[in-house]
């Protein structure tokens, strides 16, 4: 794809998002509700002391970062691309001299920029009201950016792999709900992963969900030492390679099946 086409696609998505801006902001707001609720739960629990090493202000910082980062890394291909496969709209993309994933990528980039227009001001107002405490070291700040990029890439590939399941079944909705539930539980939304009960924490560290969302938040909020950050980045990279390979494989097999069976 040429760069001009990429820009044109991004521009189109912006235009479309702005056309439906009312609904869009409501959607963005709905994604914030759960982390906000947990923010208040943990702030209340901490009172003037600490819970698991987190003070009140640290909980505020953690969840405000989570709100913004959740929006940045938010991708929903399992629904959008899955629908295109199930409805036969994929034909339109297959007929274009451009890989369909680039269309999806352009839409995501466009969506993120629009979401941030909303998430940043809301985060800033909440920060003024709730006074977060953030103590990142300079290396935390530097390492946050690769952690965030990897988190986004991991979620993109994982979601694309899930979407590819639509080539085989139209009943993958249950699986997608499970994915959402695990993301909620193990990615650091209900509680920072460090505060999860031990067995659950062990699972969270093994599975990819923490690395899609919670991990970059932990890095920037200064809750991880150098080893913790290095391990996390290694897990992220490992899972990214697995998910990228999985997404490519499922997509290829899926398209082959699609063109064998008819859209």
């Amino acid at each position: 794809m040429n760069l001009r086409a990429g820009w044109a696609l991004i521009g189109t998505t912006w235009t479309m998002r702005l056309q439906t801006r009312g609904l869009f902001f409501i959607e963005a707001l709905s994604w914030m509700v759960a982390p906000l609720a947990f923010l208040f739960v943990w702030v209340t629990a901490a009172g003037s002391g600490t819970v698991g090493g987190f003070s009140r202000g640290e909980f505020v910082a953690y969840y405000l970062l989570l709100i913004v980062i959740a929006q940045v890394t938010n991708v929903q291909h399992e629904w959008t691309v899955g629908d295109a496969i199930a409805s036969g709209d994929l034909n339109r993309l297959l007929l274009r001299p451009m890989a369909p994933v680039l269309d999806v990528l352009a839409q995501d980039v466009a969506a993120v920029t629009v979401t941030l227009l909303f998430a940043f001001p809301v985060g800033a107002v909440l920060a003024l009201l709730l006074r977060p405490e953030l103590h990142p070291t300079p290396s935390d700040v530097i390492l946050f950016f690769p952690a965030l990029t990897l988190a986004w890439a991991l979620r993109f590939c994982w979601s694309y792999a899930l979407a590819s399941l639509a080539f085989w079944t139209s009943r993958a909705g249950g699986l997608f709900s499970l994915h959402a539930a695990l993301l909620f539980l193990l990615a650091g939304q209900v509680a920072p992963v460090a505060l999860l009960p031990k067995p659950l924490r062990a699972v969270a560290i093994l599975l990819p969900f923490r690395y899609m969302l919670g991990f970059p938040v932990e890095v920037l909020s200064g809750h991880l030492d150098a080893t913790g950050i290095a391990r996390g980045l290694a897990w992220q990279l490992g899972w990214l390679i697995v998910c990228l390979a999985l997404a490519r494989l499922l997509w290829r097999l899926g398209v082959r099946r699609y063109t064998a069976w008819g859209g």
């Binding site: 040429n2 086409a5 044109a8 696609l9 034909n91 339109r92 297959l94 274009r96 001299p97 451009m98």
Partner: protein, 332 residues
Amino acid sequence: MNRPEISVHGLTKSYRVPERGAGLKATLGSLVQRTYRQVEAVQDVTFSIEAGEIVGFLGPNGAGKTTTLKLLAGLLHPTSGCASVAGFVPWRREPAFLRRISMVLGNKSQMLWAIPPLDTFRVLGEIYGVPPAQLRTTLDELITLLDLTALVTKPVRTLSLGERMKCELVCALLYRPSVLFLDEPTLGLDVTMQARLRVFIADYNRRASATILLTSHTLADIMALCSRVLFIHDGRLRYDGDLRTLARRLAPFKFIDLMLYGDDPATGDDAVLPPGASVVASSHGHLRVRAERAAAPAIAAHLLQTLPVEDLTVEDPPIETIVDQLYRGGPR
């Protein structure tokens, strides 16, 4: 020697579709053991089309027309057989191939619902790598030809079916493809719009020397545009050639309509007719005679001599009747 623009040899596409009876018992049964049925959508189809030809694809619903078009556009992978379109194997879907072909599906849309058509056109122009100056010229031309000037800045969802179809054509043509697959391009359009689209398609064919393969259940489309038709039935190619020749083969007779002086009911009597002719309708001085095609001139001359003829016309049976006959039984 020129290579044909589209050549298809032994093209076959079969599907395995899950099958189960109605009712709870059959549903539960299918959970345990699925049964499948083999569907032969396209069977051993062979034809070739020269560059610049417009060919019509005829056949009843489910005959395999759309499947064949999808195979040729690269959306489907065949079970066996080979095809070449503009020098490419379609199902490899190489970008250079996709830039040369275009497919319009009457029931599917390229347009993005929430935004004006012009935005979609521009994005597609970039995707297909059309140089900006050329895109502007092509768009101006298409928009003028299709009378879209007032519409291209309105959101697509506010457009009528016919207006959207015109926009689909712009999407399909803005990168000047040399091969066009049109699946029911006049679906849902009124008579005037159909006629305009036909003129437009014929014009594009002429000016761009484009090869066009189209399906339509509107026979007027086929008759106006296609000198050659492919008739497909149950996945098999049954006829390849001129539509009028097909009509003559299927309907070896003509109708002779007579207006007679006076109002004599006896004029409808078979007794006055020569061999090879029979009366199919008669009322109040009007007589319709079915005559064997070869004998039609002689029969007409005989009728002129023996009856008080005020007016006489000779015509072929309506093409709809012939095609109906074709769809029910296929040519013999």
